[in-house]
């Protein structure tokens, strides 16, 4: 193998990845054609959860920072939309995004700046504390935030008002159209995040995760990069919150409470936080699991906690990790 042929990284694996992704995307596009509106809505929630987990995992899987307060960014995204609807009387999805994305970016940047100054334990507690403070603010200032009742958000118009929904069966139309809208944003988010973690910056983050001292001695600006990772991470999760509330129709302080942060953590762990697709799988699966589990038991936190502990004990690499391990084991067996 000459040096030159190895310098140009082989396109093979990249093409394989792209075609696999295209297949999955095709499958996702076809979903509404095969299932009813309820399932479509559920699938949409699943994609939204996947985006939230994707953002979260930039911090955990790639930078080594475990945040217990990511509900704050999701919730702020949701409330930003609710405020936009309430105070601007706006019903355009694009307008929601236009206001919401900068809002969550600013908040993530601000809190990230405070949090990344500290080590793992204190980082985790600080993130938790911040989200609890925001929760109590949302609860207390009820004349602005609607208190524990929350704020309603009407069904928005999509694509700059060109697509709107009224009349009978409009909710079905909305679910289908909104699904595609979210799917498009989901695809964009996945591609963006994929590029980020495979960029030199992404490698530097992983270096910081693996060995902070050595990274510093290679000249990597530790604190600044952690802060940027936090900002990006919070923004992605915030986008999920923005997408969530028009579908749910309502946002409450529940989305800011620590239990919700725990769910985000759980999705990343469920899918596996040491690889890229883990959180995506985790987000989707979790949405389905939760829907059926909540119908089955009211002690949802208990179940979640038990499964969380079980996962950490038995399947720390999550579903995707376990599957790829099994795959490797099978292919090794086939070789012998």
């Amino acid at each position: 193998m000459t040096v030159d042929s190895r310098v140009v990284a082989p396109f093979g694996p990249l093409l394989k990845l792209a075609s696999l992704a295209a297949l999955v995307l095709l499958g996702l596009i076809l979903v509404p054609s095969f299932v009813g509106p309820y399932q479509t809505q559920l699938m949409t929630f699943g994609l939204i959860a996947a985006i939230a987990a994707l953002g979260f995992n930039l911090l955990l899987g790639y930078t080594g920072l475990l945040s217990f307060g990511h509900s704050a960014y999701f919730g702020i995204g949701a409330y930003a939309v609710a405020f936009t609807a309430k105070f601007f009387g706006a019903y355009s999805m694009e307008f929601y995004l236009l206001v919401g994305v900068p809002a969550v970016a600013i908040v993530s940047g601000l809190f990230g700046y405070i949090c990344v100054r500290h080590t793992k334990i204190f980082f985790g507690i600080l993130t938790l504390a911040i989200s609890q403070v925001i929760y109590s603010v949302a609860l207390k200032f009820y004349w602005v935030t609607g208190g524990s009742d929350g704020l309603r958000v009407p069904r928005p118009a999509l694509l700059f008002g060109s697509v709107s929904f009224s009349g009978p069966r409009s909710y079905e139309q909305f679910f289908t159209a909104y699904y595609y809208y979210v799917l498009a944003i989901f695809a964009v988010c996945v591609v963006l995040m994929w590029v980020i973690v495979h960029s030199p910056f992404g490698k530097a983050l992983q270096a910081i995760r693996d060995n902070e001292v050595r990274a510093r001695f290679l000249g990597v600006p530790i604190r600044r990069f952690r802060w940027i990772a936090f900002l990006v991470s919070g923004t992605f999760t915030g986008v999920a919150g923005i997408l969530w509330v028009p579908l749910n129709g309502l946002t409450t302080p529940e989305q800011l409470y620590w239990t919700f942060s725990g769910e985000i953590v759980f999705t990343a762990l469920l899918g596996g936080f040491r690889n890229f697709t883990g959180p995506l799988v985790g987000g989707l699966m979790f949405t389905y699991l939760k829907t059926y589990a909540v119908a089955w038991t009211e002690y949802w936190q208990l179940l979640l906690g038990v499964v969380l502990v079980g996962l950490v004990l038995v399947f720390p690499t999550g579903i995707v990790g376990a599957v790829s391990q099994a795959w490797r084991w099978v292919s090794r067996k086939r070789q012998t």
Binding site: R117, H118, V133, L308, V312
Partner: protein, 293 residues
């Protein structure tokens, strides 16, 4: 003037409870180098269990004086829970990455919080009978429950007992040796496993005691565990993780600031605490007396 005294007494009351929680957290971290995110939930468990025990005892017609004995019983129950948790859920993770420890204790937090909801339901559980068992006394012309003074007293006694135990008993020496160098302690023949369980149990006892002594003054409610966890961390941030003296100082500081905050800025109370914690962390990342790296 009398109001000031009342405020001071209230702050000391809160500080007493906070000290117990924070000292337990610090002890566990100091000896075992783990941070138990479920620590606040153990405090809540102590509150619920004690309130429940008191309720049952009253139903059985137990005279009020004897009810006081239930306080340490409630704390002890939490210690027993701790002795089950440590070998089962924590020990497998000592050698693993820190994230896993945090994840496991977070899962434990979720389990405990929902267990309490399952066992005792969503309505607050109170134990004021115990508080009513003691007279209301006059402090500077105003009425003040004597029970509160008992709580302050218990806090002081706990601090003294803990300090004596750690620095003046053989077990305390073993604790300190293990906390400084686990492998060395093991090589010297100390039963590290037993020490870990005992240390964890003591930490849980203290959290549980905090919950037990506070519940007659304020009912046990869902979510008190998580709030306590966050505030306990503010205390150890200020006082330093792993330091007994720090837990005491931190508890007093946090408590007085909180009382002052509630007085002047009721909405900003939490924020002031976090601001102090942030300020201390900026200046001295390990807190005032901390041993954490």
């Amino acid at each position: 003037m009398a109001i000031l005294i009342i405020q001071i007494l209230n702050s000391l009351l809160y500080a007493s409870v906070l000290f117990l929680i924070a000292a337990g957290l610090s002890l566990i971290f100091g000896v075992m180098r783990i941070v138990n995110l479920a620590h606040g939930s153990l405090y809540a468990l102590g509150a619920y269990a004690t309130a429940w025990l008191i309720g049952r005892a009253i139903g059985l017609g137990v005279p009020s004086g004897w009810l006081f004995l239930l306080l340490p019983v409630g704390a002890f129950a939490v210690a027993v829970v701790g002795m089950i948790i440590e070998p089962l859920l924590l020990r497998p993770f000592y050698r693993r990455a820190e994230e896993y420890q945090l994840l496991v204790t977070f899962g434990l937090l979720q389990i405990l919080e929902d267990l309490m909801r399952m066992i005792w339901g969503g309505t607050p559980l109170s134990a004021d009978t115990l508080m009513d068992a003691l007279p209301i006394i006059k402090v500077g012309g105003l009425f003040y429950p004597a029970y509160n003074l008992v709580v302050i007293g218990i806090g002081v006694i706990a601090a003294i007992v803990l300090w004596a135990a750690i620095y003046h008993t053989k077990f305390g020496v073993m604790l300190r040796a293990t906390s400084q160098d686990r492998r060395m302690a093991s090589a010297l023949g100390l039963n590290v496993g037993m020490i870990y369980v005992m240390a964890f149990a003591i930490g849980c006892f203290m959290a549980g005691l905090g919950g037990a002594i506070v519940v007659p003054t304020q009912a046990a409610v869902l979510g008190m565990g998580v709030d306590a966890l966050v505030i306990a961390f503010v205390v150890v941030v200020i006082g330093g993780l792993g330091s007994l003296k720090g837990a005491l100082v931190g508890a007093v500081v946090v408590s007085f600031v909180r009382t002052a905050g509630i007085q002047f800025f009721p909405e900003l109370e939490l924020a002031v605490l976090y601001l102090i914690a942030a300020a201390v962390l900026l200046v001295r990342p390990t807190g005032l007396y901390g041993t954490a790296s």
